[in-house]
């Protein structure tokens, strides 16, 4: 009896958040059952960890774009930082910590913290700008990070670490030395620690952090700045502090996604495809189509839009074309006056049917 009361007393938002967590857990259980039954194609199986990566990226970007209201086009840059920091850590300690779970946990922490640090460093100058200027500068930072990672050579020998931006020879390693980051060839042989279960756990942690942050004093401050910066200042809320906080938490979580991504690959390289602005844009598409500020929407959109091109694989060459058309059509349908009128009509149609039935 008292338990029932409690459930009823839960606020709408709490209920909605529980549904989001539940959805992820149920999805995990279903996929696990299909996997055990051998009913998942290897193609889809290979997509499971990347799917988790995209979900984390979308949820974390929503914190910047939806909750803080700043258009960032450099999210992939923070993912890149996390990926390389985490992979470097794992490679260095591969033989020191043989217990995979501990090593990966530490790698996640290292990658996340490094990305958070970059989030702060990038955020301090960037957040002084507004709107499209902010967007283009985040894009610029993302590209810089990707480019710089491509020229870094990092090696280790008995004397310690060596770093260069020229080539492996200039590292001057001794015979026992090992090259860890090989410039544009990236990092090879990162322990393959990422699993679907890890992905799901990290999604749940990301959701926990983002959802609880939004529904707290800090989240209220961030959203009040988004809605009206001048009014927020007038009631004593520090714009710089909270914008930076949202931005760096968002960057940190992108770093987490990066670590998961890096430990799923035999070779980690920074390409325009995975860490360039195109990736940032792909994630932004997830966020916008899932609904600005709607965390559950981000999760669903990331999954659906990653699977969509795969489901369209039968159409082969036309699939990306169809994806593009769907994207344009969705935006026109949801955001144009004409599209909204059609939506209203559809709603009315169903409502009428309901009343008729009743």
């Amino acid at each position: 009896m008292s338990k029932k009361m409690k459930v009823r007393n839960l606020s709408k938002t709490t209920k909605s958040n529980l549904i989001t967590y539940g959805m992820v857990i149920v999805a995990y259980i279903i996929v696990e059952i299909f996997l055990r039954a051998g009913m998942v194609s290897s193609l889809i199986e290979g997509l499971l960890v990347p799917l988790c990566v995209y979900v984390i990226l979308a949820v974390s970007l929503n914190l910047t774009v939806g909750i803080s209201g700043e258009l960032s086009l450099g999210h992939a840059g923070f993912m890149c930082v996390g990926a390389f920091a985490g992979a470097t850590f794992s490679k260095c300690l591969e033989n020191v910590i043989t217990f995979g779970i501990l090593r990966f946990t530490l790698a996640i922490i290292v990658g996340t913290l490094c990305a958070a640090l970059f989030g702060i460093l990038v955020g301090i100058p960037v957040l002084r700008l507004k709107g499209d200027y902010l967007a283009i500068v985040t894009l610029a930072f993302g590209e810089i990070i990707k480019n710089v990672v491509n020229v870094i050579y990092l090696g280790r020998d008995s004397r310690g670490f060596h770093i260069s931006i020229k080539d492996t020879i200039s590292l001057g390693l001794e015979d026992d030395g090992e090259v860890i980051i090989k410039g544009a060839q990236g990092i090879t042989g990162t322990p393959n620690d990422s699993t679907f279960l890890w992905g799901i756990i990290l999604i749940l942690i990301t959701l926990f952090i983002v959802i609880n942050l939004i529904n707290s004093r800090t989240g209220r401050a961030i959203m009040s700045i988004r809605d009206n910066r001048i009014a927020a200042e007038s009631i004593g809320i520090s714009v710089t502090k909270y914008k930076l906080l949202a931005f760096s938490v968002s960057a940190a979580l992108a770093g987490t996604a990066g670590v998961l991504y890096a430990h799923n690959l035999a070779t980690l390289t920074a390409l325009p495809k995975n860490f360039g602005y195109n990736m940032s844009i792909t994630i932004l598409v997830f966020v916008v189509l899932g609904g600005i500020g709607n965390i559950r929407g981000s999760v669903i959109a990331a999954v659906v839009l990653t699977l969509l091109p795969e489901l369209l694989r039968a159409l082969n060459d036309y699939r990306m074309l169809i994806y593009a058309v769907i994207l344009i059509a969705t935006m026109i349908f949801t955001s144009s006056p004409g599209g909204q009128a059609i939506q209203e009509r559809i709603k009315l149609f169903f409502e009428r049917r309901k009343t008729k039935e009743a």
Binding site: R128, L129, Y133, L139, F141, I230, I328, M331, P337, G339
Partner: protein, 294 residues
């Protein structure tokens, strides 16, 4: 010293291409207040049309370029009509995502028609290079044509905006589209005209870019498109001389950076300069500062 001058010339040449693209970008931004991410892909389409007509069908380059300009102009107007016009009053993000959709669309249409393999583009410029300083400094025909084209376009565009009725209508719409409409300016046709001009410029930029850098793929336009946007922001978005200055500076920085610092880091250097400029002057070199009223 000769080396430096040669790099500088190359930089100005590349910068001129950026400037032409940036002019289109800045006009569209000024009027429609949107980041037209598909602008770079119109460049790519323009280059492919010339590739098909000149290398494929053997038409004279001038005819090929004319066809390309016509195709891109129509394409630009179609994109505006179909994808952007319904979203005139929608959120900025909705428009941005639509532009990204259009960009994917154009890339994949080109991919379907031409495949993913790199096509080698034959230069449309037949002019002999100029040799200076006893042949130590060679200025290619492409460079000369590009720079001259850029200057003509920049002057022509400024004159058009300043003196023609449609040009002044553009200024009015970019200042305040609501007020312009009340004053009898046809906002819809002005926006369509802006897209038409911007896309025509993109076609020319595509041809010039591929004449100097002759490899063509469906993704050729996207990085120059982004950089041209950076150039436009750099010079102060919405400003025509700003786009010109921004474009030239960007090209020079990129080439000098590649030559003297690191070829792999040249893009990073370009973006770093953009960041520094925006932090010092948040609206670009020639941009106007607008303060929010309390």
């Amino acid at each position: 010293m000769i080396g430096f001058i040669s790099y500088l010339v190359n930089g100005i040449s590349l910068g001129s291409v950026y400037a032409i693209i940036a002019l289109g970008y800045t006009m569209v931004y000024g009027i429609a207040k949107m980041l037209n991410f598909a602008h770079g892909d119109v460049i790519m389409i323009g280059a492919f049309v010339v590739f098909s007509t000149v290398s494929g069908m053997g038409l004279p380059p001038v005819i090929g370029i004319l066809i390309s300009v016509v195709v891109c102009t129509v394409l630009g107007m179609l994109i505006e009509r179909i994808a952007y016009k319904p979203l005139r009053h929608a959120s900025k993000l909705a428009v941005l995502i639509t532009a990204i959709g259009v960009s994917y669309f154009l890339q994949n249409v080109a991919l379907l028609i031409y495949g993913a393999n790199t096509k080698s583009f034959t230069s449309v410029v037949t002019m002999e290079p100029i040799r200076l300083a006893d042949g130590a400094l060679v200025i290619s025909g492409e460079t000369i044509v590009t720079v001259i084209a850029c200057i003509i376009i920049m002057i022509g565009l400024s004159a058009f905006i300043k003196y023609s009725k449609s040009g002044r209508a553009m200024l009015a719409v970019s200042e305040d589209s609501g007020a312009a409409q009340l004053m009898g300016v046809n906002v819809n046709s002005t926006i369509a005209l802006t897209f038409a001009i911007g896309s025509a410029l993109a076609a020319i930029a595509g041809v010039l870019l591929c004449s100097s850098y002759p490899s063509l793929t469906p993704y050729t336009g996207s990085m120059p498109g982004i950089k041209a946007f950076v150039a436009a922001v750099f010079g102060g978005i919405g400003s025509i001389p700003g786009a010109f200055i921004g474009g030239i500076l960007l090209g020079v920085i990129e080439i000098l950076g590649r030559a003297y610092i690191s070829s792999q880091l040249s893009d990073a250097i370009v973006f770093a300069v953009l960041i520094v400029v925006l932090l010092v002057k948040p609206t670009g070199i020639l941009g106007k500062q607008i303060q929010e009223k309390v």
